[in-house]
């Protein structure tokens, strides 16, 4: 009887382990879906940024295209500049309203 109880406990443990493993996989699928949706949402912005950088290459004489890494750095710099600007412009207003 004790053996059976131990085996039952073992099977219960195994079921819990498999259950949580399956839950982990389901969570991974859900996260992957969220990530994919996030990428799809921002893909348009990335494309539009790419489009804005292309005319420069064509119109400005002697324009040298930056390597890919530099493009991303530039984009990052632009975004952070935009965020800083927004943040600083909002801060005083908040104080005023407070």
């Amino acid at each position: 009887m004790l053996n059976l109880l131990l085996s039952t406990l073992g099977m219960m443990g195994l079921t819990f382990a498999i259950g949580f493993f399956v839950a982990g996989i389901i969570k991974a699928i859900a996260n992957w879906a969220d990530l994919f949706a996030f990428y799809k949402l921002h893909q348009l912005e990335i494309l539009s940024l790419k489009k804005t950088s292309r005319p420069l290459e064509k119109t400005v004489p002697g324009f040298v295209a930056m390597p890919k890494n530099d493009i991303y750095k530039e984009k990052h710099r632009k975004v952070s500049h935009f965020l800083n600007e927004t943040f600083h412009s909002l801060k005083p207003r908040r104080r005023i309203t407070a």
Binding site: M1, L4, S7, M11, G19, I25, A33
Partner: protein, 406 residues
Amino acid sequence: MENIDFYSLFQGVGTMVASGWFLATVRVVLIMLGFLLIYLGRKGVLEPMIMIPMGLGMIAINCGTLIMPGGGMGNLFLDPMITDTDELMNVMQIDFLQPVYTLTFSNGLIACFVFMGIGTLLDVGYLLQRPFVSIFLALCAELGTFLTLPIASSMGLTLEESASVAMVGGADGPMVLFTSLVLAKHLFVPITVVAYLYLGLTYGGYPYLVKMLVPKRLRAIKMTAKKAPKNYDSKVKLAFAVILCALLCFLFPVASPLFFSLFIGVAVRESKDSMKHVYDFISGPLLYGSTFMLGLLLGVLCDAHLLLDAKILKLLILSIIALLLSGVGGIIGGYIMYFIKKGNYNPVIGIAAVSCVPTTAKVAQKIVSKENADSFILSEALGANISGVITSAIIAGVFTSIIPLL
């Protein structure tokens, strides 16, 4: 004319007299039970799709017993105990339900058809939203399955028989059918009949269990969501079905027909734009036709001769213990979530983790709506409900793989 015997002319009555008082009493009880099932099914207390054909089948088989050419008692419906292939071929030409029984019921095909149909009803989006909570509740709601195993063994059943009857705690008809077919074929008929009979009772019995264990104040809890629920694309749900089917089949090949059937249903549902006719067929004629035939066969299998097994009383007791304990386990899981979420969780959802899809989820919502019309828990309940099917399938796989080794 003088030689015409009344009992030979009306053999239903004749066999009743010839079978002795005990068997005759059991036949009468089963006929009365058939009437009761039809009445309760019609009233909506029990699941009508199973109970009405089952009740009528019970009445017909116990009234329609006759003297066979060999002199023994039998019927013209089916004989589930035949193993000899030559004899089976003869019987198939006489008993009208024998082909349906042999080719769909005794090999588990009908369970797979029902599972395909259930798959087309499942929106796995609810499970994708909160997989850990749903699976946790479903695992708690398997308490009866695990506790019934040692209880049944201590009552004198073999391990295989104990595991088969313990599966009733999973509250999933096809799983019980499949496990008993693999582990205890000799008890396949009574276990399946008892299981389906009790599964019908969950609809009427669980609300009382919930009311007993969860006070009115907690039943009326309205949960507030911090984040808006996400809507997953059908591509994601299809990917979910494919990955999980591959994984579970890989882990438990023994239960792979059931996994395959469930997830093919989900896959068809999520591809219904391009498979509309297949979706309509599986979710309509296949599901309802299989459920109807299942009910009919279960009724016809309630033959007094067949059910008079010495173990039937034990099976009746053990099955109800398994279902009760699973219900209690589900509610305990609900309470654990209530404490983890600091009161922002309705413990009634736990009962939906007992996987009787979608009955228990509907029961949970009905109970909660009665106490608080503004409280809507169906999405959480369905998530737990779907997880219940997955955990039952996992346990079926664990039992069929490990029990023969013990």
